[in-house]
Symmetry: C2
Subunit: 449 residues, 2 copies
């Protein structure tokens, strides 16, 4: 029996009675048992609690009692986000074992919609730069990207059907792109950051990760607590601005070719695509992003860093040391620049339905000592505009290539509809070679989590 | 003939045809000619432009064409606020003579309501601390307070009927209190700061100054562009919280006695007054206020200060040097403290219609080397709550004492109605001795501006 791996399919089958929440959970747990030792996507799988919830959702389904659109859907939560009863470790030895007293609002919203919270996924230390132990399921010698590494890798392997992550620079889009899954960074401020370990209050965006644009829309609907939602109409054909990425970083020929091929598919399907040059202010993105992030992260970590500097990884320690040395006037100049940048970035969308560009300049680097470069994602975190990243194909190295669409502020659902339109053109459906067979036996334990 | 000195009276007489805008302007100009040399409230009186406008408003009045509630009312504008065609000097030699290209939105709003913009009033250098040449009309050896020194002194002498000022620490309330006039610091963010030389974006509040609470309400209605406004009902009797000011600074016995007498009058009129203790967080107000103000002012002045340090006064130079040395993490800690403080301050109003306390701990100090202390005003600038300050009587030294009422965020007009109710109990109507006689001849020029 083929098991659904998109939320939409699974939810449809659960509603139809051809799949139970418990069966779906067991399939996810089987994937975890088989592949977790290699992929290392999870900090903690709360098997007992998840099974208890899945049993309850199964009973409710039998009685025709539906919690919401995510009834019985297993979800992974990045381990900087509070889940009641589980510790939030943030990839650091410093936060201790104390369980969170309440769910973060984003977790509570998914639970209300019927989701089964499966456990905590690996995050890069404090959602910054020092690589996590997670590996890229498409090639275990490659980084899965970060900082939402575990959420992306778990999704790519069907260990869960949806996940929560966060992005300050590129922490939703980069790992999703490297691992061949989809994500949406909603407009800044749309989702609560309460109950989430902060990196930088000016830049932190929580967001959903899944396999398709429709799944992302469904997750976002639930995260926002919207009732009776209907997807907005896609402008037909959408008018897209193809960003000239040379201003941001060198783009690998492999990614450039795949991007052009994917854009060509959109044009054949009727999209109007015009080139959009990046204004000169984009040259300062990485410097200003780093300055705001370093100062705000240092303000949050200050006391802990002073007391336990030796327990911080080298990359975050460098960031915090840098942040502590930034004068307030430089920080304020960066914030003034940020306001100006947001205006310039928003104007790029004039006359267009969305902007489009590769999510990353390369496929996942062949290294576990880096999570890759945020050059292609950080501008849109600064811009605070909604972003949807979707895989569009595989490069010659067998790794996924993804494109990101950037939309107007607060127009997240229209962007998701445009993304669904693009997705239909690309028809990306490849799975990591590691996945091998769908018919895993629960006893076939390649590895224990 | 007795000349009206409140906006309400003057507007009524202009509507009734018993006073023309031109007559009113000439009376203000006569006050300026007679007293400006002693008081030094004005940087620039644009007599020609004001007379031209007043002639026009007079003609319109004859034809029954009314611009708005301020038709023909002469207004002074603090010289950090742009008035089209006039230079904005901000009390500094550094800003040059270039005339402002457009009115600041707050000025434009008053013009639209029919006001006659009379000129620019003296401000303390860059609205900070170094005293201006303005003197207190009640006693020329005493400070008028700052930084809206000229607006307060001009109003006190009937040189204009309304004025614009700004407050970052106590720059509206303190000079108004010292000079025996009224002011309203509206809720933070209610009025645009566009076209105003900034001190500190987190704290800058533009606001109206006048002689009565009703005049302030009228000015605020015009500043906000509200049409068909009707004053909200005053809760009868209002429930007031009398703040224990010992936590903020020593209060002079003279001011304490006058405060208790004024509160006693309110109680006799039916108000319910209960003591309110200030939470411990108020002990940090001055430190945190200074830190936020210094960092933000330094960010704004940075380049100019580096190039022209010698042209800054000693107090602002010290502030900017301090600001340049503040680390971003300390600034961010102050901003986090600020968010917490705002929550604590807002909670003080629970179960009350307004808070009440003296506007200043002393009457105007007998010095021209200081503008007085902001200890009593700065907490409410940080709190971002609306404040109305009104004179309630004269102290034994013959100088005015004022009380300030603090209201709920965005409930500015109800606070103004409560203020009007208090004002009716106090019946403060004294004029500075300097005023002497109402019947000044235009030829009786005690001094030329």
């Amino acid at each position: 029996m083929s098991m659904p791996i998109s939320i939409m399919e699974a939810a449809r089958e659960i509603r139809a009675g051809s799949l139970t929440p418990l069966e779906l959970l067991e399939r996810c747990l089987a994937q975890i048992r088989r592949h977790e030792a290699a992929v290392r996507a999870w900090v903690l799988v709360d098997e007992a609690a998840a099974r208890q919830t899945a049993v309850q959702r199964t009973r409710e389904a039998e009685l025709g009692r539906w919690r919401g659109p995510l009834h019985g859907i297993p979800i992974g939560v990045k381990d900087i986000i509070d889940v009641k009863g589980l510790p939030t470790r943030a990839g650091s030895p410093l936060l201790g074992h104390r369980p969170a007293a309440t769910d973060a609002p984003v977790v509570a919203a998914l639970r209300r919609a019927g989701a089964v919270i499966l456990g905590k996924t690996v995050t890069v230390e404090f959602a910054c730069f020092d690589p996590s132990p997670t590996r890229n399921p498409w090639n275990l010698a490659h980084t899965p990207g970060g900082s939402s590494s575990g959420s992306a890798a778990a999704l790519a392997m069907g260990m869960c059907l949806g996940a929560l992550g966060t992005q300050t620079g590129g922490s939703l889009v980069r790992p999703s792109a490297y691992c061949g899954v989809a994500t949406c960074k909603p407009t800044f401020g749309k989702l609560s950051t309460k109950g989430i370990v902060p990196v930088s209050a000016s830049l932190d965006h929580p967001g959903p990760m899944a396999r398709t644009a429709h799944d992302l829309a469904l997750l976002l609907v639930c995260l926002l607590g919207i009732r009776n939602w209907r997807p907005p109409a896609v402008p037909s054909p959408p008018r897209l601005g193809l960003l000239e990425t040379a201003a941001l970083a060198d783009c690998a020929p492999m990614v450039r070719e795949k991007t052009h091929a994917a854009v060509e598919q959109l044009v054949r399907a009727g999209a109007v695509v015009q080139p959009v040059a990046l204004p000169p202010i984009f040259a300062e993105v990485m410097k200003m992003h780093r300055r705001i992030m370093a100062a705000e992260a240092a303000a949050y970590h200050r006391e802990r860093f002073a007391a336990h500097r030796d327990q911080y990884g080298p990359m975050i320690a460098a960031l915090l040391a840098e942040g502590l040395a930034i004068p307030a006037v430089d920080y304020l100049a960066a914030k003034a620049w940020h306001r100006q940048f947001r205006r310039v970035a928003a104007r790029l969308l004039e006359g267009l339905d969305a902007l489009i560009m590769p999510s990353t300049p390369t496929t996942a680097p062949a290294s576990l000592a880096t999570t890759g470069t945020p050059h292609f994602q950080a501008p849109w975190s600064l811009a605070r505009l909604p972003v949807v990243s979707l895989p569009c194909g595989l490069a010659d190295d067998g790794l996924p290539v993804a494109l990101q669409l950037i939309g107007r502020a607060d127009d997240d659902f229209r962007l998701l509809s445009i993304a669904a339109w693009c997705e239909a053109s690309w028809q990306f459906s490849a799975l990591p070679p590691l996945w091998k067979s769908e018919s895993l036996e629960p006893t076939d334990e390649g590895a224990k989590p």
